[in-house]
């Protein structure tokens, strides 16, 4: 426990030192930049976010709210400990918070936004006593004044100012004229309306009759557990043996043969201390490699038993294809969990390419996302934010279909890409939009909304205040 805290704190300190050094070479600044490695601002922005990834990972391991706000403070976000930012995804620079802010789960507060071929960085300011609903997207340059509130699923546009005491909703967020002013709602009125309306039928007293007996759970348990234990033992075994050998052959004699002070002072011992992290990391990589290999073998075996097929499956446990689909997804689930929750989430790309049924191109950036496991085709230079890529869809039955994403596509945070979607080249999708079944999006265009619709450049300029961004393009 203590050693973990030391690891977290030391990673924070080292990251801070690295950031200082980088900031001497190039000061972080706001503006609209081109998204290419030749642009200095973009290059240093990606370097900064790369450095922050490891300390963020280490602190996220503990479910402590306070440690999270400490982390944000450390990287230069102004916050107060009275805020509750639990479950929100927040950029770690150019953000300012006041006091007593409550932000809903799954919100995105991003001071940097990737759109088409641009990177936009601008400061976000949120003042005291603001409440923001779940699943909102706050664009760069937003300024939210005191006591304002924002509805769920709403988006603020670039450089928007939300007035004090205002109630905002929609995308882009607009002031709502409420029949009762929101801040005048009284307790007695709330009580009367919340707890008296539903008395025409009292659903609480309905008899609760399950459709299936509960014992079904026991039937599916053995296969799933045996898959899990097989993967677990054989992926951990060899690295453990190696670790034991390293400790018994190298470290143990080193410690036994030297007195207490020598452990730290002799150069030979110091080298030994310095290489331990590398040994541990390489063993971890070996562990993951074995896991990927074993998963591939099992996957191939399962596929030979019942090959993958696009189309509709009946929602019925007796259906063989349906059962195998779920065994396969359970198999991939452990791999995905292990890699995405670990310190090297970018390993998911080679892993998926290796196991098969997926093709993910070069220079593609995948951020923290829920990704489908089968039948993915993603081109080169694609940027996918915190999104969902799903290749199955539930209604009365389960329908499965592959996804194609072509080169240079940008999908912003909070999108959901449904099964059977095909996205053309250089298309960008604005945040919080959802594609439905088998949508085909044209190349070189912008898309937005639920369900997804094309949005013209004019609309973006007028509604979302993208004037500055497009002007930057025409100027240079």
């Amino acid at each position: 426990m203590i050693s973990y805290l030391i690891l977290a704190l030391s990673s924070l300190i080292i990251a801070k030192i690295c950031l200082w050094i980088i900031n001497i070479f190039h000061k972080p600044r706001e503006g609209v930049f081109l998204r290419s490695p030749e642009d200095k601002d973009y290059y240093y922005w990606s370097l900064r976010s790369l450095i922050k990834k490891f300390p963020i990972w280490t602190t996220r391991l503990l479910p402590l709210n306070l440690l999270n706000s400490l982390l944000y403070k450390w990287f230069g976000v102004q916050t107060d400990y009275s805020n509750n930012l639990h479950g929100a995804i927040i950029s770690s620079e150019f953000v300012e918070f006041g006091k007593n802010i409550s932000i809903g789960k799954g919100c995105y507060i991003k001071s940097s936004y990737i759109f088409d071929k641009y990177l936009i960085i601008k400061r976000i300011v949120i003042e005291d006593n603001v409440t923001i609903g779940p699943q909102c997207y706050i664009f760069p340059g937003t300024h939210i004044l005191k006591d304002a509130s924002l509805n769920a699923h709403s988006i603020t546009h670039y450089n928007q100012v939300l007035e004090a005491h205002g109630v905002y909703s929609g995308s882009p967020a607009q002031k709502v004229e409420q029949d009762i002013p929101y801040h005048q709602i009284t307790k007695s009125a709330l009580k009367k309306n919340l707890f008296s309306l539903q008395n025409e039928e009292d659903p609480l007293k309905d008899p609760y009759t399950p459709l299936f007996p509960e014992s079904r759970f026991v039937k599916k348990l053995p296969t799933h557990l045996s898959i899990f234990f097989f993967l677990y033992i054989f992926s951990y075994g060899p690295p453990m043996v190696l670790l034991f050998l390293v400790i018994s052959e190298y470290f143990y004699p080193l410690i036994v043969n030297s007195s207490s002070l020598d452990v730290l002072l002799l150069p030979k011992n110091l080298i030994g201390l310095l290489i331990t992290p590398f040994v541990l990391i390489s063993l971890y990589l070996l562990n993951i490699f074995l896991l990927i290999l074993l998963t591939k073998i099992l996957y191939r075996f399962l596929e030979s038993q019942c090959p993958f097929r696009e189309g509709e499956y009946d929602w019925n446990r007796k259906n063989k294809e349906y059962r195998f689909y779920f065994i396969r997804s359970f198999l991939m689930r452990y791999l995905k969990w292990k890699i995405l929750k670990g310190p090297f989430p970018w390993l998911i790309k080679p892993a998926f390419n290796f196991i098969g049924n997926c093709a993910i191109g070069k220079n593609t950036i995948l951020e923290d996302l829920y990704i489908a496991k089968e039948h993915l085709e993603i081109g080169h230079n694609v940027y996918l934010g915190n999104i969902i890529v799903a290749n199955h869809y539930w209604d009365k039955s389960l329908s499965v279909k592959g996804i194609k994403i072509q080169d240079k596509v940008v999908v912003s945070d909070g999108c959901c890409i449904g099964p059977g979607t095909e996205i053309g080249e250089k298309t960008s999708i604005l945040p919080l939009s959802i594609t439905t079944k088998s949508d085909i999006l044209r190349p070189n265009s912008y898309y937005f909304d639920i369900p997804i619709q094309e949005i013209s450049k004019e609309d973006l300029r007028k509604k979302y205040n993208f004037k500055e961004i497009f002007e930057g393009e025409e100027g240079g």
Binding site: G87, G104, K105, Y208, P210, W337, C416
Partner: protein, 255 residues
Amino acid sequence: MENEADMGQNAKWREFISSNNVKENRFLLTYPLIIFLSFFPTLAFASVFFIYFAHLFHPFILIIILPLLILLYYLIFILILFIICKLFLTLLNLVHRPKEGIFELSLKDRDYFFFCFRKAIKMLALEISNFFPLPWIKVLALKLSNIKVSTNTALLDSYIDTEFIELGEDTILGEGSIIMSSMIIKNYLIVKKVIIKERCTIGAYSVVTPGTILENNTILGGGSYTKINQHLEEGWVYIGRPARKLTPLDTLKQK
């Protein structure tokens, strides 16, 4: 008093969803205590094994099963942590029974005080269960906090509130969906039961608000939210912000 007449079924305030993150951080101080308390029994289990039983195995086999043992001890740690959380919760419930209602956002309000206390403890159990490789431990964490849930419910990475929720069998919660039975409305916190019955599907990124009832075989589409106190009828597909009827479920199969 004239305001009260306007707050009926179609009032606009019911379409306004705000967050459910209560701002009290002081209850997090119980976390170190609970984690510390549950470490001791785990250490005891581990040491008993290594003192009395380790010499029975060949060293090589011991190394091979060591990862399994670590997993086992982790499981024991989680289970003991759950038991301690449960103890805390029963003690709290003896002092003050959890109930639905409208509370003021200040610690002087007894309901609000205990609500935050309970929520802090339950959040610990929920968050810890996210770091276990097998998905069923999350079901246990939910059962700990008195949420009716079965092992057939698919709880993909969804945020679920900590009290007054019923989830039926074969219900699927999409990734990133949020089910909240509590919500902040300006200076008040409202808590009301959410009931989701059998074979419902809740789409990705959709929000279910306090007081919502989903009947059997209902689908709530992705990226939509329900009104406060909304009652979704059986066999319909709902979508939108706030959710409205789209089509009956029977027509879907004909396509």
